[in-house]
Point group: D2
Chain length 367, copies 4
Amino acid sequence: MTEIGIGIIGGGYMGKAHAAAYGSVGTLFDTALRPRLEMVCAASEVSAAKYQKAFGFARGTADWRVLVHDPKVEAVIIASPQDTHREIALAAFALGKPVFCEKPLGATLADSIAMTEAANASGAINMVGFNYIRTPAAQYARQLVAEGRIGDVTWFRGEHTEDFFADPALPATWRCQGMGNGTMGDLAPHMINGARALIGPITALCAQVETVHAKRGNMDVTNDDQAQFMCRFENGAQGHLFFSRIATGRKMGYAYEIHGTKGAIQFDQEDQNALHLYTMDGPEAERGFRKILTGPAHPDYLPFCQGPGHGTGYQDQIIIEAKDFLTAIATNTNIWPTFEEGLEVNRVVTAAIASSEKQTWVNVSDY
Amino acid sequence: MTEIGIGIIGGGYMGKAHAAAYGSVGTLFDTALRPRLEMVCAASEVSAAKYQKAFGFARGTADWRVLVHDPKVEAVIIASPQDTHREIALAAFALGKPVFCEKPLGATLADSIAMTEAANASGAINMVGFNYIRTPAAQYARQLVAEGRIGDVTWFRGEHTEDFFADPALPATWRCQGMGNGTMGDLAPHMINGARALIGPITALCAQVETVHAKRGNMDVTNDDQAQFMCRFENGAQGHLFFSRIATGRKMGYAYEIHGTKGAIQFDQEDQNALHLYTMDGPEAERGFRKILTGPAHPDYLPFCQGPGHGTGYQDQIIIEAKDFLTAIATNTNIWPTFEEGLEVNRVVTAAIASSEKQTWVNVSDY
Amino acid sequence: MTEIGIGIIGGGYMGKAHAAAYGSVGTLFDTALRPRLEMVCAASEVSAAKYQKAFGFARGTADWRVLVHDPKVEAVIIASPQDTHREIALAAFALGKPVFCEKPLGATLADSIAMTEAANASGAINMVGFNYIRTPAAQYARQLVAEGRIGDVTWFRGEHTEDFFADPALPATWRCQGMGNGTMGDLAPHMINGARALIGPITALCAQVETVHAKRGNMDVTNDDQAQFMCRFENGAQGHLFFSRIATGRKMGYAYEIHGTKGAIQFDQEDQNALHLYTMDGPEAERGFRKILTGPAHPDYLPFCQGPGHGTGYQDQIIIEAKDFLTAIATNTNIWPTFEEGLEVNRVVTAAIASSEKQTWVNVSDY
Amino acid sequence: MTEIGIGIIGGGYMGKAHAAAYGSVGTLFDTALRPRLEMVCAASEVSAAKYQKAFGFARGTADWRVLVHDPKVEAVIIASPQDTHREIALAAFALGKPVFCEKPLGATLADSIAMTEAANASGAINMVGFNYIRTPAAQYARQLVAEGRIGDVTWFRGEHTEDFFADPALPATWRCQGMGNGTMGDLAPHMINGARALIGPITALCAQVETVHAKRGNMDVTNDDQAQFMCRFENGAQGHLFFSRIATGRKMGYAYEIHGTKGAIQFDQEDQNALHLYTMDGPEAERGFRKILTGPAHPDYLPFCQGPGHGTGYQDQIIIEAKDFLTAIATNTNIWPTFEEGLEVNRVVTAAIASSEKQTWVNVSDY
């Protein structure tokens, strides 16, 4: 088996998640390439040394350029702050190296455009970290919709809701500044990606974006606490998306329901191993939403467990991402979601913010 | 105990429900007035005779005027088609008789205004049949919100979804013609009433109303299959309401969730005996939505059963309405929801339809 | 329509429930006989007068013999304490009058035997009040099993659990004395009846019956707080039943699950309008328990509501009983569950208590 | 950080799971020892080479003695068939090496006794692979019970149910032969361990063990398809355990409910990230089972994810086991569950089989 040197930029939450994923992905999945944790980049030499040791990397650095240019780093994972994504990605693509970038892709729409153009120009493998669409349940839901199992989709409702800022007494943090750290910037991309994956492109929308708690302690909150938009999908379906970081009681409310002319689907990430499917088959008296537990019959489940219902978790989503990224590199064929998807998600976010400011419907393609 | 003669106009679905309710309400509740099923009015003499016998009325008639003017009919229940509501109600109020009117109040906003003015001018007891807000769970939810148990409300999401027209192959019926029979006319009033009861007045909204299946067989469908609106409540909360008769898999999807600064509430009429409450009390590790089963500790439950969790059903909501109507008459004091509420709900419906046509936000008070 | 005079003995919880049921059953269902609330019997003249008025009876009495012998009382409902059941029933059967008796049938096995013999000898209509097996969901579950939809049954687990005595600090009441008021006497009959209805006769069992809190205040508790037994059904299936009045958190835990060679069923009375069905049909990836909401496609639902998912409640079970009792009388044909069923349930209770004392398996037919 | 060489015996399902776990445990948790995948042992040289490569081990062997005696193998994981456990463990303990053994500990009670004696005599670290009791939810449930949050336990019901043999038409496999591969041998140990962990020792029981489908194709099935026992715990609580491999619809039905004098707990592994807690705190009207989603406030969750509700899965349980094993070695202090626990579980299994044969209650300590 061929090894591949992995470089991860960012030693925080997501950097650690990716490091752990690359530590076991080669054992769980039958990947063509076996990852080697080559180098980690962190904000300082001290923290780089700390993460190198803690995560099991061969080397550490405080300079992402060193990592990107190191010949033994053959694939780059960007898990650093949003405003660094563009520069790093462009440098890696200039060297023809594969890049996996955490969401959101760019800090601005312009960044996302530049990054996508660079990716496409380089021909290098590129991928964006929309992990929730990778669960066995989400992949299977996507397949059911694509195969017409629920007929023509007439309605999609999605949300990404958490409650980490629900208590108005909580002090402000860095998350309270900058559109990229608000609900639209931080949470919305996941569900917009989900909506696009399941239903297709969003063509028009009308949004309402708001800061509910404008002050935390003495500090102003300058980004949004909750946001919603009504929308129209390219295939004609109507929809609604909602995002909140003040959704009291919701911990990981990445949830959706889809109505079709032959069936319906419901999903909630808080019970990520269950998918609820309703179909119009059989006698009326026997119809109901069935709670399908993920198992070996569903995508990317078997490598984690032979038995159905035993369940996968958050970290397993990152492992599936790692598997897909390694497969894309090994086969030199991009696997969805690429930077193009990250860009389109960013476009919807941009359109929604504009719609809210204008208090009117907008066409997404105008952004 | 004093008896009161009840006259019911309409022998269909709701007429029967009210007749049955008045047959047992006096036994279940300790009502000051004991109802006597005096007269039923139906579309023809034949059907009037049929309903008189089937429902146990003393007399039947095919002329609502006869019923309204009969001296032994001391309270009038209007359960006939929407376009008859106004004329009947006005006649009853002219005689000073109490009127219970099924929702929606008037077939048009003008009708609702006229009916409410007549009700107020007469000083007679008046009530509208929003039954879903009468369940023990709904009443308790209202109480929790009113008492500040979940703090300041920041978000409300409501829906009234059913799937009786989900299959595009179903032939058209009378329900496919006339705005009053579409989703906005037929289903929306319940949840708009619910939203107002729980959160308060809706001041502005932006709606999207649509006919998804424009043809059924050879017949045109001229009213809406599904509709949604984003809104702002008077207390500042943001909201979203959705209504559908093509919500595949949903049978009685009168459901809502409310986020507050101290807690949250979730409810779904499909499991009407459970209310889900989350509060920020106690240690983080022990927090979660608790599934409260209705019981004697909740409003209007005990008369149905001494034990908690034994449950009430659809017909019991109608019985609670009957109890409230009798109580209002006995005490000569209106009990919410009166015609005023029916009018305000109608105003929101009218504003939403206008908003959808204009593709813009509207102020409800402009309608 | 022919009227029938109803006499109810007992003005308490169940007496009221039956009185209310007879007040609306004729309207909700198309019964051949229309009930007339003729006479109620209570413990004293004062309470008889109170219940007569409160429940809408024509007359009241403190002497059950007066009620039974009154010629205008054409059907007798026994809702008085257990130890009165035998004498009343025998008197009524001697007059050839139909009798509906609340569960448990007799205070002792001997009583149940005598009552059943009298019923059979008289040829009069007889019925026992096992209300939980009357819900649309329970009736449908029974039908599914009977039709082989889940194949051969291999396992049945049932429970009837409540928590009204869960707190050891609660003072003793009359419920703490007498086997008939303990868990085996009061709660077990419902689920034993359910098990028999769904699976068939229980042939052998091994039980454990216990008083967990032997003292409440200064008073001894002389009956059981919880009990369980393992059993074998006549059809070969294995089973387990559990009963408790100290099942903290459970309010109406009449619940069961059934495993068959082709499917499975789960039900919990706390969500009485849902039945969970799993079948081995279709692709593995789509299998799961489906939550079927009761509706017009299920037994005895339509008279309560035209729409599925709108739900029935506790009081509606009593109404269905009333309908069945009236139908049995009108057609002069017994409808299950008759006194025979009450007797067989009593036999299982007796066998279980004996098994627990002996600490061994017993054959039910030996009791 | 000090490295430790890991040797895994068995390349199948569990061997792979452990190999993957040791690949990421050092990154996810801050373990004192960093594992190095030193050697894997499989049934043949060919398969050893295959697993060495697939799982990322330095070396492979077909002889477990080579692995156990290799000086670079500093800790031994036994994931080979049950009848090999004893010999391997004894050899490792003879060298003073730490041993992690998959459940069930020994193929027989005698094996388990011998293994536990050897473990204790050697003073080496020893642990048994009861993974389900390691989830954040299970650990937290254990803590709640231990701290008296639900008061004195009065009832425990547990089950481990799956449906992999529910279809009688499925052909026999090796799983249909040998008590160790039946329900009591294969599934029961997990839930017996769970019951002991949550409530304490089981002192007496009465069991019913049965082969439901005695033939599969032409082959006899010689072990049990389902089994149950009633029991008494040392602390006085009553209980019931059920195990089945023919529990149609159940995929990972490791589930329990616990009643206490102050609260109750419900858990089902099919939704492993939720724990349901009921307490008698607060007003009656607000009481209900609360669905607690696991998060950083619960044991061993935070290393997998910073956000609550994001969830852990099956593989994460194995990682937590690896963390505990490494911690035990590093601190030279055994961490529960040790071989003693494996032995006690085996004793309960043995007692249950004897009880079923004798058709009587037995004392566990007699076995």
